[in-house]
């Protein structure tokens, strides 16, 4: 079992090492689709340079990583490549283990193996290669959460690390709790004391470790400067550098007196779906995690292809849903076309000067519509399969003729 994984890892690491040394590395690390103002490696180096000059990295508006990262890389900067590779290997291993674990669980639960051994071999390469210079730890932590979720405390700590990095993984709290409760056979029932006891326990661990992290950063830095510089930066979106998300052009063209209102509306969007999704998918926390990651990746303020790759790495887990997908062909065509058009239109706008910002904006719009369609299609397929699991695959009307399923 471990042999294919090891082989895959070796291939991925080789590809990465080759990319790192090729001239492509420079090109990729400058692409706006790949790096965001928060995760750009260039900015981390800048932060380190500022630290060396004796200037607080948070006194400027270039560095937006958390204090722990800067102090980590302060020691690791010479081994950055290895660190990234290790982080990616850990991510991949964690995803692999999580997928296997999940498949086993599904197998155990449903008694028939619809999707055994369908761990994601191809997608492992995708994030490793693409997230070349990103700070991949966020992804690593998120999936570590899955891997170690046998252990409640570790899961809380990793989730809190992810939250500390960027605010959005806060919404993963709900699926994590649901998953752990499922594993410990705690019924999700609001009237049961054991449910509430677990929630309080988990939240205590989560908030406690968050508190420790925040205080640790404060003591490392000696000031609270990093709070507005990291979290204020994520939430108030002052940097309008184009990316694949919806925020940049919208807020570049926004009327000043509506800015705050729309900022709130857009940011709430990420957190808004958590509770209804948790209620709907309380039996299926892994799918809930997938949904939540996708929502974060679509609606976060500075998305990159790394975020997209993270939730797309889950897609092979849902290969059993393929027969219920409605417009997967169209959506994948649009996604492919968009990925090709991003660099083309960027070049036309920024370098050739023959297009303007609207061209690139149109592609980001299309890309996000395709992502939304993809996610909702998977959601639809998942719900439909659940329905079929209880009511049978071939439904009949009362009069015996073939029935069609509709959402009502």
């Amino acid at each position: 079992m471990a042999a294919p994984l090891t082989l895959l890892m070796i291939v991925a690491v080789t590809v990465r090492a080759v990319l790192f040394r090729s001239s492509l590395a420079e090109l990729i690390s400058e692409r706006v689709e790949v790096v965001s103002p928060i995760t750009a490696w260039k900015r981390v180096i800048e932060g380190l340079a500022l630290l060396d000059l004796g200037v607080s990295p948070y006194s400027g508006d270039v560095f937006h990583e958390t204090p722990l990262i800067i102090y980590l890389f302060h020691f690791l900067v010479d081994y950055a490549e290895i660190t990234f590779m290790l982080a990616d290997v850990v991510t991949a291993a964690a995803l692999y283990a999580a997928a296997k674990d999940y498949n086993k669980q599904v197998f155990r639960k449903q008694k028939f193996a619809l999707e055994a051994d369908r761990y994601p071999p191809d997608s492992l390469l995708l994030p490793s290669a693409l997230r070349l210079r990103l700070d991949p730890l966020c992804g690593a932590w998120t999936s570590d959460l899955l891997c170690v979720s046998g252990n409640v405390l570790l899961s809380a700590i990793f989730l809190c690390l992810a939250t500390y990095q960027s605010v959005y993984p806060l919404t993963l709290c709900a699926p994590a709790m649901l998953y752990l409760m499922q594993r410990q056979y705690i019924p999700v029932n609001l009237r049961r004391v054991s449910f509430w006891w677990f929630v309080v326990q988990y939240l205590f661990m989560y908030l406690g470790s968050l508190f420790v992290l925040v205080c640790l950063s404060f003591f490392l830095l000696g000031s609270w400067d990093y709070m507005p510089s990291v979290y204020g930066f994520i939430l108030s979106v002052p940097d309008l550098t184009p990316n694949i998300g919806l925020f940049w052009y919208f807020f570049a063209e926004m009327f000043e007196h509506f800015r705050l209102f729309f900022l709130c509306v857009f940011q709430i969007n990420v957190f808004f779906y958590t509770i209804p999704l948790s209620i709907k998918l309380k039996e299926h926390p892994v799918f809930l995690i997938f949904m939540q990651l996708a929502v974060i990746s679509i609606f976060k303020s500075y998305p990159t292809v790394g975020d997209v790759a993270l939730y797309m790495a889950f897609l092979p887990l849902w290969s059993h849903l393929h027969r219920f997908l409605r417009n997967i062909f169209l959506v994948s065509c649009v996604l492919l076309a968009c990925s090709a058009l991003f660099p083309v239109l960027w070049h036309l706008w920024i370098y050739a000067g023959s297009a303007n910002s609207n061209f690139y904006y149109a592609i980001t719009l299309l890309f996000n519509v395709a992502q939304i369609l993809l996610v909702s299609d998977y959601f639809y397929a998942f719900l439909r399969r659940e329905h079929h699991l209880t009511y049978g695959l071939y439904l009949k009307k009362k009069d015996g003729s073939e029935a069609t399923l509709v959402l009502k």
Partner: protein, 633 residues
């Protein structure tokens, strides 16, 4: 703003009137002039012979008097100043440049022994302009330097200017240490100055204000150099025109009615390659022991005329041709009023011929070099001759002669293509054959060009040149610019290249200027340096010197202070489409709504087997059947 407009209009009207009058009056003076030159010719010939015969004697005589003057200065000056503690001097320096241009530098200095501080209400003003006096006392200003410049000073062709200034507007102020809220005072001060000088200084805000730590030291007395009380700002986009000249002239004791200021006619001054006007206020020492201090107001106006392109094939130049005016008198309020003409490169009159000639020669150490000047003293009636009008004239004989390359000069440009990233290159040239000297480089870059300090490279002679001091203040979006200050040692006979990469930000659509595709200006780099001097510099600041050589105080004999400004940069930024905010808001909201709608749809509904919808007749029948109590169809 409207008030300004009206004022400008009024200024313009006045100007037109004065231009009209001037042209009328010139026709009369022209006749005189021709007469004067005709009469003056044999005179000048005789005089040049005279000076050629015994120039040494002349010089000696002059230098003797100078020494005498300085020895007397200590007691006589104090005596006179106790009676009238105000003094006004004016002078004009003309330097023929090797490029064929003419550099004219006016300097007006008012010195007043008074105390504006400590709640001392000064209400009686004589020579010192009241508007500036009130500014000094209200805002507790210790030093104020403001300059408006149109055009760029080409150091390589023109040499060093007497008072350097960057293109656009520059303002730097040292406040007294009694000021508690420096930023608020600065804000108010810029607005007041904006009104006084009819300039857009009110656009100075926190995004273009700096606090340099080392580049701008106080030029007057006072040892305090806590840079918390220093504010520095430039507006490279500022356009300087008549509306700035008129209020500047009004600050002079004689206005533009008498003295050298008569020559300041805007239609000529602004038809030039370079124009710069400045106001410098600082406390200076009264005597050598510096027991008492007084306030010095120095108004300088530098202009470079390009006489080649103005259509004159003959290389000939006169006061009238340059300024469309001749001089008839000194300002009656001035204690000294002189014209200096740089004749260092012309000792035997082989390059150009000066008329009317003057027997008076003077030497001054300026910018590390000993220069010889012909002096015209306007307070002497002799200067104006029989026609009571002075029209200096220079006729070139040969266009040869090579200029000494300035020891220090600098240039700057933006490299790279596309609108995503770029690189700023600053080149600094040390042309001294064997001596290296230190320079302080000050770079101020607006926040929307995000500098990456880790890409900073300093290379001279192919090797890394590590700065011995770096002060870097990163920018804050929409709040504060980048500030980079470095102390570098320039090796002899070398080019030092400083490169730093930057990233161009996309701004909000309201933050762009009305012509966004014109680009955004980045102010000049400031290079301050102690350049090795070829002759011993004069360190005694209280000695009587020509005004142009005494602006920067000199601390040691072996070097002189020079400040060089590089070109401002024009950088393009990516722009959004300004025509479609509504479209963008609608389209993006639609996408968000699509996301919301599809998720809402899936979250709130459940799957059901579709039952065909019964027809209308059937439904009515069923209603009737229900009323009858019969099971429906």
């Amino acid at each position: 703003m409207a008030a300004h407009r009206c004022r400008n209009l009024a200024c313009l009207l006045l100007l037109f009137l004065s231009v009209f009058l001037v042209t009328m009056s010139q026709e009369t003076t022209l006749g005189h002039e021709q007469h004067a030159t005709a009469v003056g010719d044999p005179q000048t010939g005789a005089e040049t012979k005279h000076t050629a015969e015994k120039p040494r004697v002349e010089e000696k005589r002059w230098e003797e008097t100078k020494v005498k003057a300085t020895t007397q200065a200590s007691d006589t000056a104090v005596l006179t100043k106790t009676q009238v503690n105000e003094d006004f001097q004016e002078e004009l320096v003309i330097r023929p440049l090797h490029s064929g241009d003419i550099y004219a530098s006016f300097q007006f200095r008012t010195v007043w022994e008074t105390d504006f501080m400590k709640g001392n209400k000064v209400s009686h003003y004589r020579l010192f302009p009241k508007s500036l006096g009130q500014v000094i006392s209200k805002f507790s200003v210790r030093e104020l330097h403001i300059s408006f410049t149109q055009g760029y000073w080409r150091t390589m062709q023109w040499g060093q200017p007497f008072i350097p200034s960057p293109p656009g507007a520059e303002l730097w102020v040292w406040f007294q240490d009694s000021v508690t809220d420096v930023d608020a005072t600065w804000k108010e001060l810029t607005n007041v100055l904006s009104g006084i000088f009819c300039a857009s200084l009110n656009f100075i805000d926190s995004t273009n204000t700096l606090q340099p730590s080392a580049s701008f030291k106080p030029l007057g007395i006072g040892n305090e150099t806590d840079h918390r009380f220093l504010r520095y700002a430039t507006l490279p986009r500022e356009i300087v025109c008549t509306e700035n000249l008129t209020p500047w002239k009004k600050l002079l004791p004689c206005g533009s009615k008498a003295g050298l200021a008569v020559l300041l006619k805007s239609e000529k001054l602004f038809h030039s390659s370079f124009h710069s006007q400045s106001v410098h206020i600082r406390p200076v020492c009264q005597d050598r022991q510096c027991k008492s201090s007084s306030w010095e107001l120095r108004q300088a106006l530098n202009v470079v005329f390009d006489l080649h392109t103005s259509g004159q094939s003959k290389r000939e130049w006169s006061l009238f041709k340059m300024f469309s005016r001749t001089l008839t008198e000194a300002c009656p309020l001035a204690s000294s009023s002189k014209i200096y003409i740089d004749v260092t490169d012309n000792p035997q009159e082989e390059q150009f011929e000066l008329s009317p000639a003057t027997p008076l020669l003077s030497q001054a150490v300026v910018l590390g070099d000993r220069r010889t000047f012909s002096v015209y003293d306007l307070t002497q009636q002799v200067t104006f001759g029989t026609v009571r009008s002075l029209n200096l004239m220079i006729r070139w004989k040969s266009s040869e002669g090579d200029m000494l390359r300035p020891l220090l000069h600098a240039e700057r440009y933006v490299a790279g293509y596309g609108l995503q990233t770029g690189e700023i290159h600053t080149l600094m040239y040390n042309n001294h054959p064997f001596r290296s000297f230190p320079v302080l480089l000050l770079d101020s870059v607006p926040w929307y060009l995000r500098l990456y300090i880790h890409t900073l490279k300093v290379i001279s002679k192919g090797k890394d040149n590590n700065p011995s001091y770096i002060h870097y203040q990163p920018s804050k979006d929409r709040e504060r610019p980048h500030l980079l200050e470095m102390l570098l040692q320039l090796p002899p006979h070398s080019v030092t290249e400083v490169t730093v990469q930057f990233e161009r930000a996309l701004l909000k659509w309201t933050e762009y200027t009305p012509d966004p595709n014109h680009g955004f200006y980045v102010g000049s780099s400031v290079i301050s340096s102690l350049v090795p001097s070829t002759v011993a510099m004069e360190t005694n600041i209280t000695m009587e010197q020509p005004l142009f050589s005494s602006f920067f105080p000199c601390k040691e004999e072996s070097s002189y202070f020079a400040r060089v400004y590089t070109e401002p940069l024009l950088v393009n930024l990516p722009t959004p489409d300004f025509s479609m905010p509504y479209n963008v808001i609608c389209l993006t909201c639609t996408v968000v709504a699509v996301g919301y709608g599809s998720l809402y749809n899936l979250l709130t509904r459940s799957f059901q087997v579709e039952e065909p919808n019964p027809g209308l007749a059937k439904r009515i029948a069923n209603v009737i059947r229900r009323m009858r109590g019969v099971p429906p169809l």
